[in-house]
Symmetry: C2
Subunit: 152 residues, 2 copies
Amino acid sequence: MDLLGDWWTPLVLRDAFYGVRRFDEFQQGLGIARNTLADRLRRLVDEGLLEKQPYQTDPVRHDYVLTEKGRDFFGVLAAMARWGDRWLAGDDGPPITFHHDRCGHETHGEVVCAQCLEPLTAEDTSMRPGPGYPARLEEDPEVQRRFAGRQG
Amino acid sequence: MDLLGDWWTPLVLRDAFYGVRRFDEFQQGLGIARNTLADRLRRLVDEGLLEKQPYQTDPVRHDYVLTEKGRDFFGVLAAMARWGDRWLAGDDGPPITFHHDRCGHETHGEVVCAQCLEPLTAEDTSMRPGPGYPARLEEDPEVQRRFAGRQG
């Protein structure tokens, strides 16, 4: 998935969902440079998606465990995986499959409209500046033009 | 959204969905270094998410237009936006809102199980190696352990 080549952050999260907790396991699984991995783990801890739990003292060693905020990222990863299956998977099929324990079926993540549960596509959806949109940008003619003429 | 600080690729795509097509518009909208932007656009063209369409000759200038593969990434962006609204938005509310033209409602993207349409969460879902999973990795005891002990 070369497009995501610099997206180490979601790959680290994905491995955390698999059950990886330790620095060396992340490192071996991802084949990522140790300093890059240390940076990504630190960022995920700073942002509150992972938390460090000591499992050993002298020297102190930590597990990296998903927080609630981190676990909630699962849907984004599932949406990424679905897109990857459509556009990047080889003839062999998807590298990872999803099983929904709740309903008992092999499945995949589908991004739908929260109101009507139909798939949410670019063709059928408009994006608009919301209440939290930066006021300074809202006055910008460039920005107004942007929201007027989407490619959809 | 500091976590996504190095995720210029989805931000470029998001702006393409707004209707941005030209290098200078991407550059102004994102406040991104020109060489970084050039690299991300080149990568998105190489990967088939954007295509270059000349709008001027002598010198040649291009629009960057979403392909079908690029437009299909919309769901991933909608899932990211939803997660960001939950965990990163300030008191003012979401910076961007989604309007589903098809059903006529203000909405957001929801990642659901394609089989039962219930939200797809880490707690209720197992990931397993699929048919396209690299065979050399499947034999790896490290990998087998990983899929056995997810954090969920």
